[in-house]
Subunit: 466 residues, 2 copies
């Protein structure tokens, strides 16, 4: 597992007050000593205590490149588990580049994206799901996404999974021993214990699988589309919803928007309002929605707000609802009928309107006035209810990674076959096959089982220097 | 001079593998201890050695915000001269914002731009010219700019200036003593020594003043305009010049371009080619240059390359030269007549052409072929000669800051009056007045004399966190 070369990379990007350059590998200290001159003459860096900071200059021959601080870490007590050094220099692109050139000229190699974290994984400092959490943590833009990533980074479900997987491993070795002695019909593995274990694992796995939707919501936010005919008040509604939140969102740098018009953060969850400008421009009535572009917009959404006017005829609202239902792959998306401009009719009229509309599963109805800012908080609560915010607070174990989701589903399928096999007294060799599969998939999550392809796919999406 | 509040700011900008947040001030440790939980339980951060690194978590109440490393610095051995802490967290905008919020909630104040460096200055860790060098160092995009800033940061001329200023201070106190005893006609200050000192200071000051042009070139690069009638080969020439250099330039992030089309780095100096697209679009011949926009473009340049074709009639080239001379505030800008497409005529013809054009001061002529890449290196050498690269290598003391330049010029004027006064036996009180002025201006450079306005102007241009 040991890497035989030393890597270096800027750990900070862009230009700030300082930049940090990281070095990791067995040659970190010898390489640094070629270019670093301690301010205290005679100080030998490799003899200094780990976790200490030293002042001095980086030099290219006699020429001073910068005055820097270096932080020393020694194997195995570093991020990567290897000898590591962080150079904290002035935040100039020129200096950063120059120091990188010097490090490379003296034997270090520029790190690939995620290579520091990959080494941390290969050196056993973290498992694969924790390594993945590092990237998620850096990318997190909301409290929800941040908490999911942080829990995963700090072990989260993987410790538990590893423990259960180890127990499965114990069983499989027993069963394989039985197979060696198959003619003697011995049973080393207690089938009852196995049934119990499989049940326990299956229960955890199913819990994790069902947490994915929520984890995904927390990680990526909830895409929401507001649709309705022109002038029904889409912009007014969006502004009313975003009113107090806008400042908070815009303070966070680096938010990517793509087709997202605006983002609202409610109780740590990002609701991302998809730009439905296309709909506005091309559709005169809701019935005209059937253009490809609109489909795609709605396809991205997990919640669709169908905005109508409370003063509309009941039949018009019903027709709109019918039309939009056809567009939706129903049962998966949540649809909220929003009766806007509720201030223009009486409460009695609203009640009758609501009574006249029969809702299906995953459909809700609410009356508001975007202009008067009436019941906007009610709409927000409804959005939170839909993503089931309540369950997040109690849920300690969450997955948010599609790779984990797929591996867990495969493991669950294998375990189902193991269960069935156990109750139907399947021959041990077939049983063993299913258990081995479950073990394999569980191992993929935490990285006990891995391939270069899996690793490559995971770390290529990291940033340089992590 | 002490600041009674503790400041905090991100020291890295943008999203990278890590972010660093800085805290400085007397309350740094108490504030940090409220939100930092060391991984080693029971460890008391304020009792740890300075220049050490500690692992732990930042928490908001019970909720973990991030796993971080903290670096401890204790007064006076820190950048600011105060107790300081650097928090190295995961490079997420969310985490950075959250930690900043926690620090502020616990009593720190968000730092103003440059406030860390301003504190370093106020606490005597660096003089004002060194503080200014910090900003220059971060902004440096070329080796030349970098070396000028670094020399200034490391004391450069300011130590020498301070020493000479101290000697002037000694004299002024002697002369003022004389004034107190004016009726007794004593002379405490040896006029011969004063003459010698004034000469010495004036010599250094004049050296520094004359270094400004070069320092400015190194710091800001040399703006070059290529002008000529359409199809004479401007783009081809630019491409030929930039050919090998382009990769190097584009590797440096954060380069600001404005109206700059391209930048070439030659021996550490940035040559910035001004976008003369306006000229290309609007002028059919060089005589038509007299539009305002073109004026401005040429005004920005310190070197103008007048591109003509070697196969042009001598008279046409002369007319072009005449026309461009009228545009230039001559004697200040350097003009190079570039005879392009030299491959299309014989060497003899070129020699005759060159002989036929009489050059003025600051004018040069060269023949090249941009298309065949002939003599491009000759043109590059000529550019380097013009900025007098040779003298840089020997010059150890350079100023690049207009504020210093102005203060030095004022100091030089005062000293000239002192010299004149000494030779014409000016009354001591008038002499004292001139000396005090010189002392004042010298003090402005290093910051012994300063006003809130001067400080405000200097530090407002710093980035946050420096």
């Amino acid at each position: 597992m040991m890497n035989d070369y030393t890597i270096c990379a800027p750990a900070t990007h862009g230009i700030g007050a300082i930049s940090v350059i990281r070095i990791s590998g067995a040659e970190s200290f010898p390489i640094l000593e070629k270019i670093f001159h301690p301010a205290t003459s005679g100080k030998i860096i490799s003899r200094q205590n780990p976790n200490t900071i030293h002042y001095g200059t980086i030099r290219d021959g006699e020429k001073i490149v910068d005055e820097v601080l270096i932080s020393l870490f020694k194997a195995p007590h570093s991020y990567t588990g290897e000898d590591s050094i962080e150079i904290s220099c002035h935040g100039s692109a020129y200096i950063q580049q120059k120091i990188m050139e010097l490090l490379v000229a003296n034997g270090a190699q520029p790190a690939r994206p995620g290579e520091f974290t990959q080494r941390a994984f290969l050196n056993g400092k973290m498992d694969l799901s924790q390594a993945e959490a590092v990237a998620d943590l850096i990318a997190a833009e909301s409290e929800g996404a941040h908490q999911v990533a942080l829990k995963q980074l700090r072990g989260g479900f993987s410790d538990k999974l590893k423990l259960l997987r180890d127990q499965l491993l114990h069983f499989i070795s027993m069963i394989e021993l039985e197979l060696d002695f198959s003619e003697e019909e011995v049973e080393f593995a207690d089938r009852k214990d196995l049934v119990r274990l499989v049940k326990e694992i299956a229960s955890l796995i199913n819990e994790l699988i069902s947490s994915f939707q929520l984890g995904n919501v927390l990680k990526n936010g909830v895409p929401v589309a507001i649709i309705g005919r022109p002038n029904v008040g889409k912009s007014t509604l969006l502004n009313a919803i975003l009113d107090e939140e806008r400042a908070i969102v815009s303070e966070i740098e680096g938010t990517t928007r793509d087709a997202i018009e605006d983002t609202m953060n409610l109780e740590g969850i990002n609701f991302r309002f998809i730009d439905t400008a296309g709909i506005r421009e091309t559709a005169d009535t809701i019935e005209n929605l059937g253009i490809r572009k609109t489909y795609q917009k709605i396809d991205q959404a997990s919640i669709v707000l169908l905005l109508t006017e409370a003063s509309d005829e009941l039949e018009i609202i019903k027709r709109s609802l019918e039309a939009i239902r056809k567009q939706l792959d129903n049962g998966k998306k949540n649809l909220v009928v929003v009766l806007n401009k509720s201030d223009r009719i009486t409460e009695k009229q609203i009640r009758e309107l609501v009574k006249g509309i029969s809702l299906q599963e995953n459909e809700q109805i609410i009356s508001i006035s975007a202009e008067q800012k009436e019941n906007i908080s009610g709409l927000k609560s409804m959005l939170l209810d839909i993503v089931n915010i309540g369950s997040i607070k109690h849920q300690d174990v969450l997955i948010s990674n599609i790779r984990h989701f797929n591996a867990l589903k495969s493991a669950a399928e294998s375990l189902t076959r193991v269960s069935e096999g156990l109750s139907s007294t399947l021959p041990s060799d077939l049983l063993a096959q299913d258990i081995r599969e479950a073990i394999h998939y569980l191992g993929e999550i935490t990285g006990e089982v891995t391939t270069d392809e899996i690793l490559g796919n995971i770390f290529k999406n990291f940033c340089i220097g992590k």
